[in-house]
């Protein structure tokens, strides 16, 4: 079995996995709906005389950080569904056995899954971020900006936001592979997307926390991150990518070595 075939098989699995679809669709839909709500409420405030502090450019990116939960769920479900026992539980009943007998080269199986996670989260991210940016400018009405000007001001940051989605999904995927279960990564990653995230709390305790994947990665698109002396966007991209590669490497090492 070649890698393209394995990728195609993994793609078909995700398309037929309701939870994975729900994760992506709901994550994107929720982000867009809430972005729209933020857009119209900002317009009302601007109409009422609030000064434009330049945040109208950013509005489409504001929900990018919490919105990533959708692709996190999808990335985790792709792995946890393999290890969930179906009705015949003793010994068999887990899809992972079929997957591994179908594609015995485990590195290839994992690579195919990672490719699917990256593609799906990339498309979801692009649709969400792009859609959010366009929508907010339309909803802002006369306070909105022309696309050319918007892109000029934002620069690479929308791309950074999409990259943040892809890399976050891949990290969640790697952790799920290591844990062989969805519970641990689900709790860890969802708790970390809350208001006062765990990693943000850590930035208060140690300055080393600025190199944590999500803290560094958020610098790719965030303005006004509520902590001081963060890394530059480019460093952030490098740091988060390094984390992703390292975690995928460890996950692959475990996946190849251990019994199913």
């Amino acid at each position: 079995m070649s890698l393209p075939n394995t990728v195609a098989a993994e793609f078909r699995k995700i398309v037929t996995l309701p939870a994975a679809i729900v994760g992506v669709v709901l994550g994107t839909a929720m982000t867009l709906v809430f972005t729209a709500m933020a857009g119209s409420s900002r317009r009302a405030k601007l109409d009422a005389g609030m000064a434009d502090d330049g945040s109208t450019y950013d509005l489409g990116l504001e929900m990018a950080a919490p919105g990533v939960v959708g692709v996190i769920v999808t990335a985790i479900v792709i792995i946890s569904s393999e290890y969930t026992a179906t009705s015949k539980d003793a010994g068999g009943g887990r899809q992972i056995l079929v997957s591994l007998t179908g594609t015995p080269r485990r590195g290839e199986l994992l690579a195919a899954k990672a490719v699917v996670v990256a593609l799906v989260s990339g498309v979801a991210g692009a649709v969400t971020i792009g859609g959010g940016l366009l929508m907010t400018q339309v909803l802002l009405g006369r306070h909105g900006h022309p696309i050319g000007e918007l892109m000029g001001v934002l620069g690479w940051r929308p791309v950074g936001a999409v990259a943040y989605w892809v890399l976050t999904a891949l990290i969640a995927f790697a952790v799920a592979v290591m844990a062989r279960s969805g519970i641990v990564p689900m709790v860890a990653f969802v708790v970390n997307t809350t208001f006062v995230s765990v990693t943000f709390l850590l930035t208060r305790v140690t300055s080393l926390a600025k190199y944590l994947p999500d803290v560094a990665g958020a610098q790719m698109f965030a303005t006004g991150y509520p902590a001081e002396s963060m890394v530059t966007p480019l460093t952030g991209a490098v740091v988060m990518t390094a984390w992703t590669v390292a975690l995928l490497g460890v996950a692959a090492g475990l996946f190849v070595r251990r019994d199913a």
Binding site: A85, S87, K88, D89, A90, G91, G92
Partner: protein
């Protein structure tokens, strides 16, 4: 004594079983036969109070399963494997089952011994083979020393020794005046074990009665089964 009367169940528009009626007498092993999708599982699930019937009743000793007091003291059942969570040990699994019906703790050790799992009682169910899971399911069924046994494919995954053990156990159970309803696809095994037969096909009971009556006129139980359940086969024989 099991009495099933006019049982009907739909899954959406599809009729799973339609007007199924039969009785299972004490003191005998009753075989329940039918092809995949014939309605065996639907019937057994309703009998055990897992699913609800759209019409009809399924009574055990005159009461529906959901009205039985401490049901495991009356009915022992096995459907689909171990029925245990994979991260619990066999002993822990049987402990909560025993507790839920107020059964003595000592029964856990006794049934583990009886089904041959005493050595692996402290192991997680997830590490069990299919046959060991099946033995654990049997252990839970025997826990309350019930008067009625309802077993779906108990021999599934068992080694020859295990299959012989089940056969002997069921015969002993019936000889003691208790009721045994046994569902299986293994015709030769069924022919050796069952006293009575109920054959279901397409959601309806096609025949029921003592083994020798059902197989009368056929070379074997298998031949009789195909003749009863496969319309095409029946037509072929007639021509």
């Amino acid at each position: 004594m099991i009495e099933i009367t006019g049982l009907t169940k739909r899954h959406g528009k599809k009729l799973a079983i339609s007007d199924v009626s039969f009785t299972v007498a004490p003191g005998r092993v009753t075989g329940f036969l039918g092809p995949n999708g014939a309605g065996k599982s639907s019937t057994l699930r309703i009998l055990l109070g897992l699913d609800r019937a759209d019409a009809g009743t399924a009574l055990i000793g005159g009461r529906p399963y959901r009205r039985l007091r401490d049901p495991l003291r009356t009915v022992g059942s096995l459907i689909e494997g171990s029925g245990a969570h994979r991260s619990r040990t066999a002993r822990a699994h049987l402990s909560w089952v025993a507790r839920s019906n107020g059964l003595a703790r000592s029964r856990v050790g006794e049934v583990l011994e009886e089904v041959g799992l005493a050595d692996v009682a402290g192991k997680r169910v997830g590490t069990f083979s299919l046959g060991m899971g099946q033995r654990l399911g049997m252990a839970a069924a025997l826990l309350g020393t019930p008067d009625v046994l309802v077993l779906d494919e108990p021999g599934n995954g068992l080694d020859p020794d295990g299959i012989r053990w089940i056969r002997r156990l069921l015969k002993e159970y019936a000889q003691g005046g208790r009721t045994v309803l046994l569902s299986s696809h293994l015709m030769s095994e069924m022919a050796e074990t069952a006293d009575d037969l109920i054959v279901i096909s397409g959601g309806r009971v096609v025949t029921s009665g003592p083994l020798h009556e059902v197989t009368a006129g056929h070379a074997s139980l298998e031949e009789a089964f195909f003749a009863l359940t496969d319309p095409a086969h029946r037509a072929g024989r007639a021509s």
